[in-house]
């Protein structure tokens, strides 16, 4: 993405939108991972997969989290939601009651922020919510909007980078328009024939041109425009 927009500015929230299976989650994971590689902190809020599954996904993509033990946290909104009595806590993973429990999510994120930003003095932080579509399955747009209003504000307050994925075609256009008001940038992904394309808007004065991208050898590669 840096190829398209230059450096990513700080204190910014970006919505990643695209049809299913276009690599939104991969992109979000890669952005957080690149931060970890640069000694930044990362907080991953998963409304889809358990904490251990997120770690597996990272590992399978050739992006093992183990080496950054002190720099990342996962907020797992899934493991407890089915009431299987599962309370085991893995290192770096905080379990929240469910994806409906936005109060719980914001407390968990707050605790990680305090640890990284204040105690460990890591002043650069990347946060991912994957995905907003799952939040919207159980809560209405007003509720999610209020939660994100506070959340995106917090991201900006700590000069962080927030990445939020959302499925295209799953919500009506009013929902997406409402959410766009909360972010400073949007990355759109789409498929055309056998090509995958993306563009970025909001960060540069005009949206970038559609650029082809591929996911090969565990890398998200945007081809030069």
């Amino acid at each position: 993405m840096d190829i398209l927009t230059g450096d990513i500015p700080v204190a910014i929230n970006i919505l990643v939108i695209g049809p299913p299976l276009t690599g939104k989650a991969f992109l979000a994971r890669a952005i957080m991972y690149n931060g970890l590689k640069d000694k930044e902190a990362g907080i991953y809020i998963s409304t889809k997969d358990s904490g251990s599954k997120i770690k597996d996904k990272y590992a399978k993509c050739g992006l093992p989290l183990d080496q950054y033990e002190d720099a990342y946290g996962i907020v797992d909104c899934i493991s407890r939601s089915l009431g299987t009595g599962k309370t085991e806590t893995a290192k770096n993973v905080v379990l929240v009651g469910s994806a409906v429990d936005m109060t719980g999510i914001s407390i968990a994120v707050g605790q990680f922020l305090e640890e990284f930003w204040r105690k460990k003095q890591m002043k650069k932080i990347r946060l991912v919510i994957e995905s907003l579509s799952n939040l919207l399955m159980y809560s209405n747009i007003q509720t999610v909007y209020r939660f994100l209003h506070v959340f995106t504000g917090k991201v900006r307050a700590v000069d962080g980078l927030g990445i939020y994925t959302i499925e295209e075609g799953m919500h009506d256009s009013m929902v997406v328009t409402t959410l766009k008001q909360l972010v400073q940038g949007v990355i759109e992904l789409k498929e055309e024939g056998d090509k995958r394309l993306l563009r970025v808007s909001g960060i540069t004065p005009m949206p970038t041109k559609w650029a082809e991208y591929t996911i090969e050898n565990n890398e998200f590669v945007v081809k030069e425009v």
Binding site: G83, T87, G97, S106, I107, V158
Partner: protein
């Protein structure tokens, strides 16, 4: 009277929450608020009251697990504790609970169950739920109308309603109504934030059955244990070799000293978990050359323990000078007349006379080496800091 079980809150509320009344924990987003209601519930179960918990954002089994995290087993209260399951219906799970809200997005579905529960549970029982969670599901205005109804119903049946409300950016009207109008008492739970939240506090906004003390208390959430009032800095000072390090170590759950040749040249630091309090104490060196440290710490402390050697009246002027150095900050303080076990130890009253200390100031006789009198001195100071009665 049902109590909140939150440190000092029942004293501020003049005993607790009278039957027929409601209390709202008004919680800022990102601050641990649900634990307040959980602690209130557990306290009341221990006191023999019936309690009902509305689970809106988590599975009932998970809600019970959360109590366990704080060391609060619910198994022994099977007959006194129930959960209203307002979660399973939302995600299409079967519920095992006695009380189930079939459609958690419909306020009338909530109403049916809540009215039934208030009727069945009887006098003095606590009903808890998150108003904001219900509002998010059923709509703001609809929920608030029904909350008014439930509050009246609670009053009629002599029950007690305890609610949480996460103050998300709802409309100003809604926030005002929740904070000012709907409930008999409101306790605000907030965060001290400078970009990230690094401290948490609570305090009473209103309580219509009494003139509540409007103090704010810092707190920490301890697992297990629950909410403890947090006092970040109590200073221990006094002349050379009066027993400051001994006192810090004797009081503390854990402590460290920075020592050289058996006297403190930098700082003693101790942490105390005592009853409902979590306290950090700092001991300063006694020699005059370290006075700048004393002044620095005095500016940030919340209270002061001044320790004197009861056998050395010649050092009292120095003790008084140390006191004056910190008193400019208006700290609550007490004096510990230490080494009372030694021959020639002066009594508290003799010390008061020699130091020319007014009657209003407490002087507690202590023997720090034998841990005598020190807990009493510590508790007296804590009471002065957070307000005792």
């Amino acid at each position: 009277m049902p109590e909140t079980g939150i440190p000092r809150l029942d004293k501020f509320l003049k005993g607790g929450i009278p039957n027929g009344k409601t209390l709202l924990y008004y919680v800022h987003p990102g601050v641990e608020g649900e634990i307040f209601a959980m602690q209130t519930i557990y306290t009341n179960l221990e006191n023999g009251n019936n309690c009902v918990f509305i689970a809106s954002t988590r599975n009932p089994r998970d809600a019970r697990e959360r109590f366990k995290e704080f060391g609060w087993g619910l198994d022994k209260y099977k007959d006194n504790f129930a959960i209203i399951d307002a979660y399973s219906g939302l995600i299409g799970l079967e519920s095992e609970e006695k009380y189930v809200v079939e459609d958690p997005t419909d306020i009338t579905s909530f109403n049916e169950v809540i009215e039934k529960v208030i009727e069945e549970c009887g006098k003095g029982s606590i009903i808890f739920g998150s108003i904001s969670a219900i509002m998010d599901m059923c709509g703001e205005q609809e929920t608030l109308e029904y909350v008014e109804k439930w509050n009246k119903y609670t009053m009629l049946h002599d029950g007690v309603g305890v609610y949480n409300f996460t103050a998300w950016p709802y409309s100003e009207d809604t926030l005002n109504k929740v904070r000012e109008e709907l409930f008999d008492s409101v306790v605000v739970v907030g965060g001290i934030a400078e970009r990230v939240i690094f401290g948490q506090y609570y305090g009473i906004v209103k309580a219509n059955w009494t003139e509540p003390e409007k103090k704010y208390i810092l707190f920490k959430v301890i697992r297990p244990g629950g909410i403890k009032a947090f006092i970040p800095k109590i200073l221990v000072t006094g002349p050379y070799n009066t027993g400051k390090s001994t006192l810090v170590h004797a009081l503390s759950t854990r402590a460290v000293s920075v020592d050289r040749l058996a006297t403190t040249i930098a700082l003693d630091h101790g942490h105390i978990d005592h009853k409902e309090f979590s306290v950090d104490i700092f001991g300063t060196p006694g020699q005059e050359r370290f006075d700048p440290i004393l002044k620095l710490l005095g500016g940030e402390a919340m209270g002061l323990l001044l320790i004197v050697d009861s056998t050395k009246p010649e050092e009292f002027p120095r003790a008084k000078a140390m006191l004056e150095m910190t008193l400019g900050y208006g700290l609550p303080f007490i004096i510990l007349a230490n080494k009372q076990d030694l021959p020639n130890a002066l009594s508290s009253e003799e010390i008061r006379e020699r130091m020319k200390i007014g009657k209003e100031i407490k002087i507690v006789p202590t023997v720090a080496t034998q841990k005598k009198g020190i807990t009493e001195a510590f508790e007296t100071l804590i009471d002065m800091i957070v307000g005792a009665d």
